[in-house]
Every structure is written in C-alpha cells, then in structure tokens.
C-alpha cells in the first residue's frame, strides 16, 4: 500500500515537432498541497491538461487510488474526482453566485429547479469555506478573489478528491490570497489532494508541503519544500547550479549607455495592472525588466506603450512630461513595441511579410500617404537582409514562417519606423537557439551603433544577464531591485527575484 492518491508515471506527450513531456512522474498524496513549478514551456500546463482530459497522453499511466484512469474530456476527469480552477475564472459572470455553483446539477422539485434549495445549499457550501456573501447576486458583482473562491466551491462540491489550482492568486492582493490560503488549508484537512501552480515563490513556501519541478518537459525532481532553499529552487527551475556564474565571462560586448536620459518613469502604476515601477532609460542602453512570469514585466511594457492608461506617477520623455494615450501617441514619441503574444497581438497572419513589415510605418504616415510599392519592397528587402529573415520572398505569407522569423518580421516592423526606444517583450520565446542569439546580438548592436534605447524582457536569466547593462527586477508587480554594471549577474538576479529570505 503506497497510500498515494494520484500516481502519474512516465507521462509522454508530443505535439507536432515538440516533445512537451518526456517521462514525467508525479505523485500526490491525500491531504497534501503539492506545488508544480517550472518556467515557461517547462510542461506544467501540459501535465495538468493531460490529467484533466484536455489533452490525451501519448504514453505512461495515471493511477488514482491504485486504479488506472484515462480521462478523455474535462467532464470525464470531473467524474473521476479531478476538479480544476483556472487562472481566468471559468464561470459565467451573468449568473448568480448560487447558480454558478450548481448549474447543470440543480436540485429540482416537481421537475422544476428549486431555487430556494439552490440558494440555501450554495450559502451553506460557501459558509463551509468561510465565505459569507449574498449568493443571489450575479457573479460580476464580486471581486476576482471571491469569484476564485466561488469556483473552488463549485469544484469542491463535485465531490472532488483532487483539486488543481492553476495560478489562482495571480490577480489577488495579499489579503485576498490569505483568505484563499485559509480555504485551501481547510480543504487539505478534509483529506483532499491539492495541486497548486503559482509563480509566486513566497506563496509556494508558505502553503505547499512538496514541490515538483519540471524543466523543458522533463522532471527535475520532487522535493520537500521545507528542505529546499529558495535559491536552489530557482536554480533548478532555470537549470543552473548555484554559484555557477562563470558563464558571464563570455558575454562579450555590451551596449554603452550615454548620459542622456530618453525616458524616465517615476512611480508609475495602474490599478489592477501594476503597483509601482520607477526607471530611467538612457540613450544607447539595453535595459532589462526581469522577474518571474506574472511579476509585472509585460504590464510595465504595455504602460510605456500606452496600451493601458497610467493612473499613478508620471512619465518624462527627453525631460518633458508625457502622458501616453494609445499606441499612436507612443509611436509619435518614437517608441516601438514587440508584444509578448506574437500570434494574438503581433502578426497579421494572412498578410505578406512585406505588408507586415511596413504596417507600423504606414500607420504612422497615415492612410493617404501611401508608401509606393517599390519603396515598400526596398524596405522589406533591406529588413530581410539586415535581420537575416528566412523567407522564400518578401511576398510570402507571414503565418507560414517559423516562430523566430515571425519575430524578426515584427522587430523589422518597428525598426522601419526608426524608433528611439524599442521594447522587446519576450522576443526569444519559443524560437530556436541560433535565432535567439541573433536577436540578443541585434539588440546590443542597435543600442551601440544607432544609439537606440532597448527594453529587453525575457524569462531566461542567462539571456538577460548577457544582453542588458541594467536590470529592473520586479516581484509581485512592483520594482524590488535594480542591478547595474558589475552587479548584473545570474546569481544576483536570482537572489533579487527570490527576495530577502534566500
């Protein structure tokens, strides 16, 4: 008798061209809170999706209480007793709290839904979780934190034995998180097995008994949280040994920032988006915004580009106060932005490489001042040559390019506008190693040769350390440290991200 509630052994999952999981083991005991950790693309969410029946595994076994299961849909997984609460609440905002908990399995009387019973049972269920709210109001009346708890209530009531919480705290403040943790601990005492996925180290350490670490689709190991120092945890996640900072030496050239400040942010923030960040971006500087996923990196970039409105603090461009009001306003200040989600916010899939490259430039010129075709072709060809974009021709559709080449096209789009500041949000995610190195070098070259300022955001610490001369470190949506000059090292960065208690 092993006593394990859930045993996943040698799980394999392959997507066309990518091995998402190879030989991953995962064990969960009843009455345990187990964290699943890893950086982007480590395979956490794939593992969870295999468990919840969203994906089918290609190999391996899943046993629950010793019996093999193979859920094919989320519904089947639920019937096995596996419930999931996702990062974005998967409930209906227009229905009442009580209905959200019971929809699909409402208690009935004479064939009609018995609303009194629905409300009473919902009230009782939430009280069990120490949540006292009016269950007859619609879900959108309540904060995301409460919605999260309501989602948990629904999950728990479906007689769940295993509860998966996928980044439940990413949009909660401290107090809300505290309340959520109380509920999770309460469920733990009732003997439920809980899988907790979060990027917040602090939370993993306060809440979880065990942690399983994945990297590049492989198992790194399973550890007792209390016996694993923070620094070591981060080292294992990013695949570095503690103290192994020698790789720095080969970094080679870096940019040479000038005295002149291009952009200065003083305590900028936006409600629900970012707490506070200060930074000074010099001309000719490659500055990095570092932190784990969800720490506010992308949000900072989006504030600078005017995608979200800033409601605190002030911005200065070349010493003059500036209030960003939409992307076009930022473009007029000569700022360019390559967004993190290339597919959703970057490429226009059905257009050609040429059209994608000249898009921002044309937008800046306006509808009427059309760039003649010959000119477009020249710009596109220049960019293709300069950035070594692999295409069959400038009129190939961008959606048929590889990820790395798509990224280069988006960068080319902004270079064509001749920006003074280029923000690159995760420009190297999901692209091959060779292209990665090219993009890093290009960022440095732009700063050095053209005197451009570059904001570089990446999950890979190595890359950040190699590329940037200054690092703004964010944790929990606020700036916690700034590393500059010789202080820029993987070691220091890891420590800064891990926080004081490393």
């Amino acid at each position: 008798m092993t006593g394990a509630l859930l045993e996943m052994r040698q799980i394999e999952k392959e997507f066309p061209g990518v091995r998402a999981l190879s030989g991953v083991d995962f064990t969960l005991n009843a009455g345990e809170i187990h964290s699943l950790m890893g950086e982007n693309g480590a395979g956490k969410s794939t593992l969870v999706k295999v468990l919840t029946g969203v994906y089918q595994k290609d190999g391996g076994t899943i046993r629950m209480n010793g019996r093999e299961i193979a859920p094919r849909t989320p519904k089947e997984a639920q019937e096995c007793g596996i419930s999931t609460v996702y990062q974005e609440v998967n409930l209906c905002p227009n229905l009442t709290v009580a209905e959200n908990i019971f929809i699909g399995r409402e208690p009935k009387r004479y064939g009609w839904i018995d609303w009194r019973a629905v409300n009473a049972r919902a009230q009782a269920l939430l009280e069990r979780l120490d949540v006292r709210i009016d269950v007859t109001r619609t879900l959108d009346h309540y904060s995301v934190a409460l919605q999260q708890m309501i989602a948990i209530a629904r999950a728990v009531d479906i007689e769940a034995k295993i509860l998966i919480l996928d980044e439940p705290t990413s949009s909660l403040d401290e107090q809300e998180t505290e309340r959520l943790f109380k509920i999770i601990r309460h469920l733990q005492k009732e003997g439920m097995g809980i899988i907790f996925i979060s990027h917040f180290l602090e939370q993993v350490y306060t809440l979880c008994d065990h942690v399983t670490i994945l990297r590049n689709g492989e198992l790194v190991g399973a550890y007792e949280t209390a016996r694993l120092p923070r620094l070591e945890l981060i080292a294992k996640m990013v695949g570095k040994e503690v103290g192994d900072v020698r790789t720095m030496g080969e970094a080679g050239e870096k940019s040479e920032p000038k005295e002149e400040v291009f952009l200065e942010a003083k305590a900028i923030g936006a409600t629900g988006v970012l707490e506070t960040v200060d930074m000074k971006i010099h001309k000719g500087e490659v500055i990095g915004i570092a932190g784990l996923l969800g720490s506010g990196r992308t949000e900072t970039a989006e504030l600078l580009f005017g995608i979200h409105a800033i409601d605190r603090g002030s911005l200065f461009v070349k010493g003059k106060p500036w209030h960003p009001d939409g992307p076009m306003a930022a473009m007029r200040q000569k700022i360019g932005f390559c967004p993190e989600d290339r597919k959703a916010a970057g490429i226009i899939g059905d257009l050609t490489v040429r059209e994608n490259i000249i898009l921002a430039m044309q937008a800046k010129e306006g509808i009427l001042r059309h760039i003649p075709y010959a000119e477009q072709a020249r710009i596109a060809d220049d960019c293709i040559k300069l950035l070594k974009i692999k295409v069959s021709g400038r009129d190939q559709l961008i959606k048929n390019l590889s990820g790395g080449n798509q990224q280069k096209v988006i960068i080319a789009r902004w270079l064509a506008t001749q920006p003074d500041l280029l923000i690159l949000d995760e420009p190297t995610r999901g692209i091959d190693v060779g292209t990665k190195a090219e993009i890093q070098k290009m960022a440095i070259a732009l700063a050095k040769k053209r005197g451009m300022s570059v904001v570089f955001i990446s999950s890979e610490m190595d890359e950040m350390v190699r590329t940037c001369t200054k690092l703004i470190v964010l944790r929990d949506r606020r700036k916690v440290a700034e590393l500059a000059g010789d202080a820029v090292s993987t070691d220091a960065l890891m420590k800064a991200i891990a926080g004081g208690a490393a």
């Binding site: 473009m331 959703a344 916010a345 490429i347 226009i348 898009l359 800046k364 509808i367 059309h370 789009r413």
Partner: protein
C-alpha cells in the same frame, strides 16, 4: 497545365467558372444570347450588354460591401439606402408633368449621394463608436430606412418627367453604351485607385484579420471601421441614382429590394471570406456580374422577382459551407478515412 492549376487555386476561380457555366447555359437555351448588334446611331445592343448594364448598380454595391465584409462586418442596410437615395433625387428634381426640374439635376444627384454617405456614416457610428454588432446596427436602417424613404416620397411613387434624368441609366447621345456602365467603371477605377494609392486596403485587411495586432501597430481601428461603413453608404447612394433613373421614379417599397443579399452573395462568390480578412475587389466585380446573370437566367426560366430569393438563399448557404473551416476539416477527415480504408483493403488483398 500548371497555369490552369494556379487558376484553380485562385480567388477568381469560383466566380469565373460559375459565370461561364451560366453563360453557357444561356447560350444553349436562349436564342441569340451571344449576338451583338450595332444600331444606326452607333449603340451596342444585345443580351450580354444588357446583363452588364443591369449589373452596374450591383457592382457598385458589391464594392462597398467588400470593404465592410473584409473588416468582418456586414451591411444589410444597402437596399434601404438605395431607396432613400432614390427618393431624395426624385423628390428634389420633382415629378412635374411639364418635365421641368425643381432643383438642378447635378445638385439633386450630389444631395442624394451625400445622403447615402450620411446613412453609411450613421451605421459606422453605431458599429465603430458604440460597438453595436454590425447586423443589428445595419438592421435598424434596413427596416427604418424604408420608412424614411416612404416619408420622403409621402408614400407615393414619384415619377420624374425631366428628360436628362433618364440618361443616368440610359444612353447618352453618341455613346455606344449606357451611362450607368460608365459610372460602375468609374467606381471600380476609384476603388482601384484607393487600393493602389492609399493604404486603406492594408488597414482594412489588418483590422479584419487581427484587430488587436492592428491596434498594437498603431492603426486607428475605430476610424477604419467608420470609413468603411461610410463608403458602403456612398456606394449605395450612387446605386440609388442608377436604380431610380432606370424606372425614372422613386419607389420606396421596391427600390433596391433584396439587393443587400445580392451584394453579400457577389462578395462571397468573389472569394472574400464572410468572416473577414483578405478581400478581392476583382472577384466581387465578377461575382456581381455572375449574380446578375443568374438573375436574368432565372427570369428567363420564368422565375419571378419575388421568388428569386429562394435560389440566392441556397447559393449563400452553399458558399458559406464551402468557406467554412469546419466543413473543410470534416471533408479532409472523411477523405483521410476513405484513403485509409482503401489502403487497408489493399493490404487485405495482398494477404
């Protein structure tokens, strides 16, 4: 062979082939369908010319509709806007029996085109600014617009006796072809000019394919949407002139009736996806001619104007199914399964 294959894959394949099939059908069953004659005063005359002339207002509507559909919207009010525009021009010129115009014709025409633009701008305001779904926004004008047209004509059919008015859809002395064909040509050239000399095509496609990415690249999505609907209104306004001149009257009930469906059909047939994105002006133009040929053919077969929508409705559904990704996936899977079965059968044979 190779060029044939390339043609089969191009956006023009469907409209051109359906047009050819229809023409062939007509050539076989309608006497003198292909014959062209020149009258004494140098006018070209024949059934083919007739079809082309009749399709002029549809071509113009299809041009506007192409842009709207490319932004993944729709404008079902065009028929009603045609009626309003027709009402305005006839009302201004007036139905005086002695054939005198109450307002100079040029002014009246300008006014009615402006009213068309105004209608389009109203749609654009609702869709772009208030973010109302395009169908509902344009449905309002589709139904209420006929009411407005009725109001302008006071429920009467205004017949215009002013002679030059007939020239819009008739033949100017000394010209070989009717004027409306030239108007259509002019509109096509205008669109071609817009496509070549401005970036509207690029912006419209970007907004239709990926509005988020378009916004991130600095495109003013609201403005693009607004302009597109305003342009569709402009096209409907011009069409209204042609339609009213054709019968020399404003009939608020029947002017532009069911034309929204024809325009949508022409655009879809021309290869533009109804879900938006890439658009093909040439395809839409040929699509419009094809639809007009279909209409003429159906009339020849004894189908009346009010029965015709049955055929067109079926055509729309069929084109939707052809365009549908899901249907394509299903078809691919079906083919794969059959291929598998076939291969399996062979393997068994080999044993």
């Amino acid at each position: 062979m190779k060029s044939l294959k390339r043609f089969a894959g191009s956006s023009l394949f469907l409209p051109v082939v359906s047009l050819l099939v229809l023409l062939l059908f007509n050539a076989c069953f309608v006497d003198g369908f292909l014959s062209l004659q020149v009258t004494e005063d140098g006018r070209l005359y024949g059934r083919l010319i007739d079809i082309l002339t009749r399709s002029s207002s549809l071509i113009i509507l299809a041009l506007g509709m192409t842009f709207v559909i490319a932004t993944s919207g729709i404008d079902i009010s065009v028929g009603a806007v045609v009626a309003i525009s027709a009402a305005v021009v006839c009302m201004l010129i007036g139905g005086r029996g002695d054939g005198v115009a109450e307002t100079p014709m040029a002014l009246a025409m300008l006014a009615s085109v402006c009213v068309g633009i105004l209608c389009g701008a109203w749609n654009g305001l609702l869709v772009a600014k208030f973010k109302i779904q395009a169908v509902v926004a344009t449905l309002i004008l589709m139904t209420a617009g006929r009411g407005v047209a009725q109001l302008l004509t006071e429920g009467q059919i205004i017949t215009v006796y002013y002679k030059p008015f007939a020239y819009i859809s008739g033949v100017l002395p000394g010209m070989p072809l009717p004027t409306n064909l030239f108007i259509a040509l002019l509109m096509v050239l205008l669109v071609v000019f817009l496509m070549k000399r401005t970036s509207i095509g690029l912006f419209v496609q970007s907004v239709g394919i990926n509005p988020t990415a378009a916004r991130f690249a600095g495109i003013n999505v609201t403005l693009v949407l607004f302009l597109v609907y305003a342009f569709s209104g402009f096209c409907a306004g011009v069409s209204g002139l042609i339609e009213s001149s054709l019968i020399r009257a404003a009939d608020a009930n029947n002017a532009g009736l069911n034309m929204e469906m024809d325009a949508i059909l022409a655009v879809a047939l021309g290869g533009t996806l109804l879900s938006g994105g890439k658009f093909y002006v040439g395809g839409s133009v040929i699509g419009a001619v094809t639809i007009q040929t279909l209409t003429t053919t159906m009339y020849a077969l004894g189908v009346s104007a009010d029965q015709l929508p049955v055929v067109k409705a079926i055509a729309v559904v069929v084109i939707c199914l052809i365009q549908s990704k899901k249907a394509q996936d299903m078809f691919d899977r079906f083919k794969a399964r059959r291929a598998k079965k076939h291969a399996g059968g062979k393997a068994v044979d080999a044993l």
